[in-house]
């Protein structure tokens, strides 16, 4: 799982590319990385995760996204997923996460 800050990032919009597989092994690393990036970008109001390179998502990955939504909302920060593959979108949708945050699929 690779997490890379994209060039479209502004003072308030943090754009991040996710590449690889998000499972029980890698999900905690994503959570750590997002927290670190928020410390580096303290004025962030919206995090946009570009998921074009995210090839797999398990329940552990979905759980980390849900935990992030819950932790970020009280701080006034929203989370959005962009360019999600059909396979990953299907799992997010089954778990109801597409109703909890904006999810745009390719």
């Amino acid at each position: 799982m690779q997490v890379e800050v994209l060039s479209g990032t502004t003072d308030t919009n943090l754009q991040v590319a996710l590449t690889g597989e998000l499972d029980a092994l890698t999900a905690p690393k994503l959570y750590e990385n997002l927290n670190r990036l928020l410390q580096e970008h303290p004025n962030t109001r919206k995090i946009i995760l570009n998921c074009r390179g995210l090839t797999y998502l398990s329940s552990a990955g979905a759980g980390i996204l849900l935990m992030s939504i819950d932790n970020l909302a009280p701080k006034g920060i929203s989370l959005e997923l962009k360019d999600v593959t059909p396979e990953v979108y299907n799992i997010l949708d089954l778990l109801g996460l597409t109703k909890l945050m904006p999810v745009n699929h390719v």
């Binding site: 499972d23 029980a24 092994l25 998502l57 398990s58 329940s59 552990a60 979905a62 932790n71 799992i91």
Partner: protein
Amino acid sequence: MSKASLSFGASTENLPIIRHFVQTHLRAKVPSSVLLNQITVAVEELCANSILHGNAENPQKELRLELHVQKHTLHIYLYDPAPPYDLHAYPSEPTLLRAGTNRPGGFGIYLIRRLIDRIDVRKCKGGSSVYHMVKQLPHEGGS
């Protein structure tokens, strides 16, 4: 009937190997990438539960996964040295899991129930268990 088996230690490091095994064996039989992903997710969720909860991530504990394809029916067996857990003792809706917790749980079982046609577990001699999942595969040509 085609059969394939994989033995692995109870470590999350083995999850990518499990996924690769499932996809390699079933790719030719499951043309839809979304369906193949659903089966992969269900198998991984079952294995991850056994690795994390049943065997406390002890890589010395060995599990065996078997995939049997019989005509248009996929049978998935997981032989687990740990005792079985109650597959039905979890909330049936994922949104319930958010209430009052700061960490969601039970997503894996929920996904298995949604993605697989049938699942049961059998307790074996010595306290080990065998999980059995069944999934109907589409007929070639969509009929």
